[in-house]
């Protein structure tokens, strides 16, 4: 408040400002922009580190677009065969597609080409990672609840598009690794019942690999997918803007306000600066850490493969699912159903994505919660949801490990067969275990919160009372912590639906109501009850009493405290007789000297 910048308030406008104002007026007279600015220029955004995850995704996407445009200037999406005649000696004279040849030229001949290729790949990885972590932040804090369900769906769609963008881009250099990925895609398409063979022929323009796939993927990669992503991000951000950002519970924060810093100037500087931090970081990494060295893999040919080939991490879990699936294949009425491929690569991801997309409505239905939520849940306060999330992550991680089982088997000298069986069992057991453990941890944390409210914080200071009793002094918790803990929503399970109404007519929704009540019980079971206002009040009084009791002792220590060398010059007598008789007062005074600073 006392800073210089704020003291100088109504300075006359500078020349630049006057020109700016004129420009603003010019635009406003045509698009009504000042009205929008008056409502939005100082929009308040709450501050929390986890709110930057979505920003990272956004900014890395901008970096993907910038570097991608650069790459299109040099890349040739063509499979016309050429003989390599570039500076990379090991491939000299080798026959390869023009696509691979141009990717090599970008890497070795164009100055800055390799840097841009690596910026593109790294920022794409940042993009997908940030989306995934951002999605989990939204999930674990319940930010998908009303009114944000639609933005959750848009976010999920963006995540899928990001995977599509990643995979199509990964295939474009036409190196041995990317071609093998495409071959597996062909195998997956062929396994789709009824339409699979046709789907594969239409995508590849006939048999694998054909000559069309690279140019088709190119169009999808640089136009179709980014176009949809840009449109979706626009809607995503417009919704965030109009619904205002969620906030964690804290002092002064309610479902009806936003506490934070205004867009201008703080968020313009912080968020704008953050874009440059992300961009700069990616560029530095791209400058010194090699990624996807396509020249080592060689050009694609369908009869070669290198051992230990791994897809990028976000596709790896599907590869793991392919490996763990038992070899089922059915022939029905003369037609073949390749369950060994169809289940892990189509059914499984289909189910997972569908469940994730409809989760906001599932949870709202099961809990009967129809209110608007702008205060976030702390993950511990929604134990079942948090446990479900950790369960999903565990499932994913087991599959992902499966995607690298050969590398792990070689590294740890295990047999592949053992790895597969271990992972098959793990895939069923570990997620269930993760669910139970996570839920218990959440409930324990809730208990701790409750204890903090009811007993305050343990200080470790022991006090002996006149009648000889020893007590540990509890200190009150600070306002931030109290507001955070008291922000916990108190939700009761839904009641059982009535079997008949008052007139004795059977309730037509009895069955679904009963299922719903059961689910609601499952979600809220073992909930730790929030202390009542009365209990909290009582606890506060009790803590205050203890603090009062300890006060004379602390005052005495304060008086003894000498700033420079800590030497005790004289011991002032205690005012009350409470502690006079006891030696413990002296012994405890040494140990608690530093605490009295609080």
């Amino acid at each position: 408040m006392s800073t210089e910048s704020q003291a100088v308030s109504n300075e006359p406008q500078s020349g630049v400002e006057q020109k700016g104002a004129a420009a603003a007026t010019y635009v406003d007279e045509r698009v009504h922009s000042n009205s929008w600015l008056s409502r939005n220029l100082n929009k308040v955004f709450p501050d929390h580190w986890s709110f930057m995850l979505g920003e990272i995704a956004l900014y890395s996407f901008v970096v993907v677009l910038l570097s991608g445009v650069y790459l299109t200037l040099f890349y040739k999406p063509s499979v016309v065969e050429v003989i390599y005649d570039g500076p990379y000696i090991p491939l000299k004279g080798v026959q390869m597609s023009e696509a691979y040849d141009s990717a090599l030229a970008i890497s070795f001949e164009v100055r800055g080409g390799l840097l841009m290729r690596q910026i593109h790949h790294w920022s794409a990885l940042f993009f997908v990672v940030a989306i995934a972590v951002h999605m989990f932040r939204i999930f674990f804090t319940g930010a998908f609840r009303k009114p944000r369900e639609l933005n959750w769906v848009i976010g999920m769609t963006l995540a899928l598009l990001a995977l599509g963008a990643g995979f199509t881009g990964y295939s474009l250099p036409d190196d041995l690794l990317s071609g093998t990925g495409l071959r597996i895609i062909e195998g997956i398409l062929l396994a789709i019942p009824v339409i699979g063979t046709w789907a594969s022929f239409l995508l590849f323009g006939g048999e694998f690999p054909g000559v069309d796939i690279i140019s088709r993927l190119y169009g999808i990669h640089i136009l179709l997918i980014p176009g949809i992503i840009v449109a979706m991000i626009t809607v995503h951000l417009m919704l965030v803007w109009s619904q205002k950002h969620t906030q964690f519970p804290g002092p002064g924060r309610t479902d009806k306000n936003v506490v934070g810093y205004p867009l201008m100037p703080v968020y313009m500087a912080k968020a704008g600066g953050f874009f440059f931090l992300i961009f700069g970081l990616i560029t530095i990494i791209a400058g010194i850490v090699q990624i996807n060295p396509i020249w080592i893999f060689g050009p694609y040919t369908p009869d070669q493969v290198s051992a230990g080939t791994q897809p990028d991490w976000y596709i790896g879990w599907l590869d793991g699912a392919l490996r763990l699936m038992p070899n089922l294949e059915w022939v029905i009425f003369g037609y073949t159903l390749s369950l060994n491929v169809f289940i892990p690569t189509v059914i499984l991801p289909g189910l997972i994505v569908t469940a994730a997309i409809i989760y906001p409505w599932l949870e709202a239905w099961a809990t009967g919660d129809k209110r608007e939520h702008h205060l976030l849940d702390r993950p511990r306060n929604a134990p079942t949801r948090t446990a479900l999330g950790v369960m999903a992550i565990t499932f994913y991680v087991v599959l992902w490990i499966g995607g690298g089982n050969d590398v792990i088997a070689v590294g740890f000298d295990l047999s592949i067969n053992f790895m597969i069986w271990l992972l098959r069992f793990s895939l069923i057991i570990l997620p269930a275990l993760a669910f139970i453990i996570t839920k218990r941890i959440c409930l324990s944390l809730q208990r701790r919160d409750r204890d903090l409210l009811l007993h305050g914080r343990e200080t470790g200071r022991i006090l002996r009372l006149p009648h000889g009793e020893f007590i540990e002094v509890h200190a009150p918790i600070n306002d931030n912590e109290r507001a955070r803990i008291e922000g916990k929503p108190d939700i009761k399970p839904l009641p059982e639906p009535p079997e008949t109404d008052s007139a004795g007519v059977a309730n037509p929704k009895y069955k679904s109501g009963k299922r719903r009540a059961g689910l609601s019980r499952f979600i809220h079971r073992d909930a730790i009850e929030k202390p009542t206002a009365d209990e909290i009040h009582h606890a506060d009084e009790h803590i205050a009493e203890q603090v009062e009791m300890e006060k004379p002792l602390l005052e005495r220590e304060e008086a003894m405290h000498v700033a420079h060398d800590g030497a005790v010059l004289s011991k002032p007598p205690l005012e009350t007789d409470v502690l006079e008789s006891g030696d413990p007062a002296d012994s405890s005074s040494n140990g608690s000297g530093s605490n009295s600073q609080q």
Binding site: M1, E4, P209, P265, K270, G273, L322, Y335, T336, N340
Partner: protein, 362 residues
């Protein structure tokens, strides 16, 4: 952070901003009812001046790195290599460009964030939210407008218009979908895609040649336990003619040799043999999702796919012994010609590559 909230004496400075103690300027939000921590830059003019210097220095350094980038671009040759500890030898040009450009960008961000944190207001403010739901008046007005429009449009009055329009709208995307049909231009000779998948370019009497140098293979020159990657002799001509790799993607084979007594079974019908003196030929394309396989363990005769670890026993008709593949690897019947070179007796008896819907149809 803790540095900022304490002054030199180590005492914490807390300023309550609750309540409207200070008059707000137009455009300023009221401060939130939370403790406001004064930073060192709020109380100490020296710290403030230092922060200003730091921010300006970062922006200046950014300019400097842009200049260094230009120097690197011009001065460093494309093929120069530099060795960075823990990372290894990398392109000097690439790393110099990445570092200078990256730092130039990064420092702008660092400067802006530092500026925001040290010098801009750090008072948390409150803005009210409004429920997303529109007011009843707005909803009622929207409903009224809709009803006026509906009546004026005669939409409800003439069901025939409504239905025909919906039918037309539903069908109008069809031409676009149909236009996608020629993503695969079907040759006149091919009735359905699955027919193409059933055959390869192997023909009776066709020589097996090595996959890169296209040399014919003498059966006797393969040692017991050895493995040779092979393709049909006419593959180069077919590829020249078709300008694609389709033939190779199906016809690639592996040739292995074991002692004839080690062969437990073959895919040949009863009383017939498809090997030549213990030389066996199998498709190289995995029946799972099509990866080419050549990880062969000569002692156990097991063939392992590097992609998903399907394992086939080549001494026992290449049956699946482990992993996600269901079908065995198809065997190519072989013999030798007059000069002792390996030749195919016929095409594969079973389709090669991944399974598909119509694979077991005639």
């Amino acid at each position: 952070m803790s540095d900022d909230t304490q002054d030199q004496t180590g005492q914490e400075l807390v300023q309550s901003t609750g309540g409207a103690t200070k008059e707000l300027r137009p455009g300023e939000w009221p401060p939130a009812d939370v403790e406001h921590h004064l930073r060192r830059t709020d109380t100490d003019p020296k710290a403030q001046a230092r922060a200003v210097r730091q921010v300006a220095t970062m922006f200046m350094l950014s300019v400097l790195f842009v200049i260094l980038f230009i120097v690197a671009f011009i001065a460093i040759p494309r093929d120069a290599v530099v060795s960075i500890p823990f990372i290894g030898p990398i392109s000097a040009l690439n790393s110099a460009m990445g570092l200078t450009f990256g730092l130039a960008i990064f420092l702008i961000g660092a400067g802006a964030v530092h500026w925001a944190k040290k010098l801009m207001s750090n008072v948390e403010v409150v803005q009210e939210r409004h429920p997303m739901k529109s007011t009843p008046e707005e909803t009622a007005l929207a409903a009224d407008i809709y009803e006026v429009g509906r009546d004026q449009s005669t939409w409800a009055k003439y069901p025939i218009i409504r239905r025909t329009m919906l039918a037309a709208m539903a069908l109008v995307p069809i031409p676009f979908v149909i236009s996608l049909r020629d993503l695969w231009i079907q040759p006149a000779s091919v009735s359905t895609p699955s027919v193409e998948l059933k055959t390869t370019i192997w023909e009776p009497g066709m020589r097996l040649v090595t996959d890169i140098t296209y040399q014919p293979i003498k059966a006797d020159e393969i040692p017991v336990g050895g493995l040779v990657n092979a393709v049909p002799e006419n593959l180069p001509e077919v590829e020249e003619e078709e300008h694609n790799l389709n033939a190779r993607a199906k016809a690639a084979v592996i040739v292995v040799r074991m002692l004839p007594e080690e062969i437990q079974s073959q895919q040949a019908p009863e009383g017939d043999n498809w090997d030549y003196n213990g030389v066996l030929c199998y498709s190289k394309i995995c029946t799972h999702v099509g990866c080419p396989i050549s990880l062969y363990q000569q002692r156990t005769h097991l063939l392992l796919c590097p992609c998903h670890q399907s394992t086939f026993d080549l001494s026992d008709s290449a049956e699946v012994v482990f992993g996600p593949a269901y079908r065995r690897m198809p065997q190519l019947p072989i013999t030798v010609d007059d000069e002792g070179y390996l030749v195919a007796v016929s095409d594969f008896a079973e389709p090669v590559g991944p399974s598909y819907w119509e694979i077991s149809r005639p």
